[in-house]
Symmetry: C2
Subunit: 197 residues, 2 copies
């Protein structure tokens, strides 16, 4: 059926755009390049999207939603605080939780008025939803209530960047100690209040 073919090509355009935009931002990627890589003709592209900006917006929204969804599902697994945090960090490492910096910058540096507002508002909205999820998890005792959700997010961010840090090999020498510390922190430092059990 028409819609099925459509969605096949549509999906191809989206996933290719995601890949390229993630790496280079959208300014550096031409529609033609995108079409070649997605194996879609330019005409087909224009059947689905009026221009590159609208495609970029779509990618942005989709990724935000997908990120939030993954985030939610982790929090709803009701695993231990350590396990939950570990999964969140892993999500960040995969790059599935955050919008690429280069991609984001192209929105901010774009001249079209309103586009900047679009991402700012969307980003804020996504952020608020995540915070809300964490609060709910706290209510369910997945995390201690004594930590502010915002801090928890920054904490997992910091952990992810620690791990991707290229000085990794150096710290391999004493990796055993580091892992021990990290594990301990996850297991006891962030647990739900024990006394309230």
């Amino acid at each position: 059926m028409a819609t099925e073919i459509a969605s096949k090509k549509y999906a191809l355009i989206l996933s290719t755009a995601r890949e390229l935009f993630w790496k280079y931002g959208f300014k550096r990627v031409s529609i033609e390049e995108l079409c070649v890589k997605a194996k879609v003709s330019k005409m087909t592209f224009y059947k689905f999207f009026p221009n590159k900006i609208e495609l970029a917006k779509r990618v942005f929204i989709n990724e935000s939603e997908a990120g939030l969804k993954k985030f939610k599902s982790i929090l709803h697994e009701n695993k231990s605080p350590a396990e939950t945090l570990k999964k969140i960090v892993q999500l960040k490492l995969e790059g599935s939780a955050n919008i690429s910096k280069d991609f984001l910058l192209d929105f901010y540096e774009n001249n079209d008025e309103g586009l900047k507002d679009f991402v700012m508002q969307a980003s804020r909205s996504a952020w608020l939803k995540i915070i809300k999820e964490i609060r709910e998890a706290q209510r369910k005792r997945v995390f201690t209530s004594s930590i502010r959700p915002e801090l928890l997010m920054h904490f997992s961010e910091a952990m992810a960047s620690m791990i991707t840090n290229k000085e990794l090999l150096e710290y391999y020498a004493s990796a055993h100690d580091l892992i021990k510390e990290l594990t301990h922190l996850m297991a006891y430092g962030l647990g739900a209040d024990k006394k309230s059990k």
Copy 2:
């Protein structure tokens, strides 16, 4: 003096180009963008380089030479095989040993005849120099002679990619074992022949 100012700006252009080209390749980077980021006027740019291609070539050559130099100095430290390999892997992790893939691709995909040959020849030349260095190290018993230099290079490459692999967190669970194995391999698996001592 003129040369000093010149070399200051010149160096600024080069380091900025390195940074941008590494990330995006040179096709996606405009001279204007480069100049803005390097805080150099376009006129100054054209005082040093006739065009972007020549700059890209210069960056390529410099990086190749710098990489080889670092590589050499590691091999000449006469550390243990394990320590030496560790340092080589670290070099690869820093991205100082290899030319960026995006950067390289722009050379290959460029229409200018001769440019493709330029990199192919330069790459080959750099590769041969590295192999030569390894052979020399083998003569000095830094590495066992029973491994082919080419294999050693691919091995360190594989190790580096293992470490940057985003499944790192997963393997954290049994990281202790992995490190033990890796350390053992480095210490005993690649050492110079013991009997010949």
